[in-house]
């Protein structure tokens, strides 16, 4: 079996969780992967400083789509303060596959979008 393209990665890629639009929503953001031009956007509904629902939309490779799908299940229910603390390691650990330096940008795109929506800081990760 392939190291990177594990069954659960392919499963999340082919049947992504929490994809689509969310109307109305309280927070949103859109980011590009400069490597390939892929786009990922997020809609977030917030209640009491906590993420109560979110949806991703856009297109990308298996890594970026699976990462968004896997993360979406964890993000629901987190407080905004918790989201602000999330770092690259959190996402990479969650993915559970060895990600090369080049593909890191794919793996982290969704966290970049979510952090952008929550904190307004679009520079992360540098």
């Amino acid at each position: 079996m392939d190291d990177l393209y594990r069954d659960y990665i392919l499963d999340h890629y082919k049947q992504p969780r929490n994809f689509g639009e969310l109307e109305p929503h309280d927070l949103e953001a859109l980011e590009h992967n400069p490597l390939c031009g892929d786009e990922l956007g997020v809609h977030i509904r917030v209640c009491d400083e906590r993420i109560v629902d979110l949806r991703f939309q856009g297109h990308g490779c298996a890594i970026s789509q699976a990462a968004a799908s896997i993360a979406s299940e964890e993000l629901k229910g987190m407080t905004l303060a918790e989201v602000e603390q999330l770092d690259a390691d959190w996402m990479i650990d969650l993915l559970g596959i060895p990600v090369s330096a080049t593909r890191r940008k794919c793996a982290l795109l969704n966290l970049k979008v979510v952090r952008g929506a929550v904190t307004g800081d679009h520079a992360w990760p540098t």
Binding site: D2, L4, Y5, L35, C36, G37, D38, H59, C61, A62
Partner: protein, 415 residues
């Protein structure tokens, strides 16, 4: 397998990178469109210059400095001859991106104003888009795009129609597209541009490495290319310009070497080509590029083109056997350069590139610095395989096998 022999130049052994990789996987290098590998003679020329003849150029009277001067200027002469240009009008830049920026800043700011238009095409590389966006915004001019048709080609009558509008001052276009592979009819295009009183710039980044290019015959006012794709070192590019236009232009970068004299408040400029070369140039890289064009000349650019055309035809045949694979650009190998960009239904190009790399196959995935074209094609990204002098049919066979295997990982044929 006589067919393999048919499309090999037999030069792989000249390129040390193929002698063995640390991971002992084979190196199936199909990314020459991004950068070429370097023959040992180029590496030796560059290293040998630094070892035996290194000095700063243009000013030293001691023998070592004169050797460096001679090496630098004779490399310029070799490189100019390779593309049918004169040394006086052959300017070294760090890459073709700088060459295009030089024209945008130096010619553009003096000649483009409100109401004027710059015409480029939908198939340009960002290097031949963004400098014109910046120029047009600064000067209040308009940037227009010539359409790419379904075959991935430009239309000369569309060019005529654009020129007939009377506001076009500059037309900039690729000689060979780095995504579609399209070989544009550059001489016909420059002739029309000249007839309309406009100036032409041709981006030869993909063309010079793979076919005989004669800038005199092409008749462009500016023709730029980049060393690293033409078997040369990185860090060196070339801008050929029409002498009269270069004479009239103000310099771009200013400083040492490009001046005739400097007073407290003003300066006068050196002669061509040095007027456009500020500061210490990349001497060893010029020597390396000189060795590269010598190597290519010895192979013969017509042979190089025929080899790569035939290999591209073979690749197009192979790609046609991969289910759900769609190639963009001209359908036949005759009208295209040595590459094929494609998408595979259900597979993202990044995943394709990653999966084929498991068998040592190196291809590129992404927007290839041509996002506007990607939009026109209706795709976010493509995978691209491009061939060089060192490739043969076995590389293509490995690519096709790897693509078929990639589809299996994603279980695309599963019921």
């Amino acid at each position: 397998m006589p067919s393999v022999a048919e499309s090999t130049l037999g030069v792989r052994a000249d390129f040390p990178i193929f002698a063995g990789r640390p991971d002992e996987r084979p190196l199936i290098y199909l990314d020459s469109g991004a950068t070429s590998q370097k023959p040992q003679v180029v590496i030796d020329a560059l290293a040998g210059h630094l070892r035996d003849h290194n000095a700063n150029v243009h000013r030293g009277v001691y023998p070592l400095a004169q050797e460096a001067d001679a090496a630098f200027e004779s490399a310029r002469a070799q490189i100019a001859a390779f593309t049918g240009a004169t040394p006086q009008t052959t300017i070294f830049t760090k890459n073709v991106t700088e060459a295009i920026n030089l024209v945008a800043y130096s010619w553009g700011r003096a000649n483009i104003g409100p109401g004027d238009a710059v015409l480029i095409t939908q198939m340009e590389h960002h290097a031949n888009i963004v400098p014109w966006q910046v120029l047009c915004r600064e000067r209040g001019a308009t940037l227009r795009y010539l359409e790419v048709d379904d075959r991935g080609e430009l239309s000369l009558s569309a060019l005529d129609a654009e020129l007939a509008r009377g506001d076009v001052r500059l037309v900039a276009f690729a000689h060979v597209s780095n995504v579609l592979g399209t070989i544009n009819p550059v001489a016909e295009m420059t002739a029309r541009v000249r007839a309309a009183g406009a100036v032409s710039l041709v981006d030869g980044a993909q063309a010079v490495p793979q076919m005989a290019v004669d800038v005199e015959q092409i008749g462009a006012d500016f023709y730029g290319w980049t060393g690293h794709k033409a078997l040369g070192p990185m860090g060196i590019g070339v801008l050929h310009g029409r002498g009269e236009i270069l004479q009239e232009m103000e310099p771009f970068l200013t400083g040492g070497d490009m001046i005739a004299s400097v007073d407290f408040q003003s300066a006068t400029w050196n002669e061509l080509p040095w007027k456009f070369e500020a500061g210490t140039p990349m001497v060893a890289e010029a020597v390396g590029l000189g060795a590269a064009v010598d190597y290519l000349s010895a192979l013969g650019m017509d042979r190089v083109r025929e080899h790569e055309r035939s290999l591209t035809a073979y690749m197009l045949e192979g790609l046609a056997r991969v289910p759900d694979l769609r190639v963009v650009g001209p359908p036949e190998a005759d009208g295209r350069g040595a590459l094929a960009s494609f998408t595979i239904g259900g597979l993202h190009p990044h995943d394709v590139a990653e999966l084929v790399s498991r068998s040592g196959v190196c291809i590129r995935a992404g927007h290839h610095c041509a996002q506007p074209l990607m939009r026109c094609l209706g795709v976010g990204a493509t995978a691209r395989a491009s061939v060089g002098v060192y490739n043969d049919r076995s590389d293509i066979d490995a690519l096709i096998d790897a693509l078929l295997a990639a589809r299996e990982v994603f279980a695309l044929d599963a019921p």
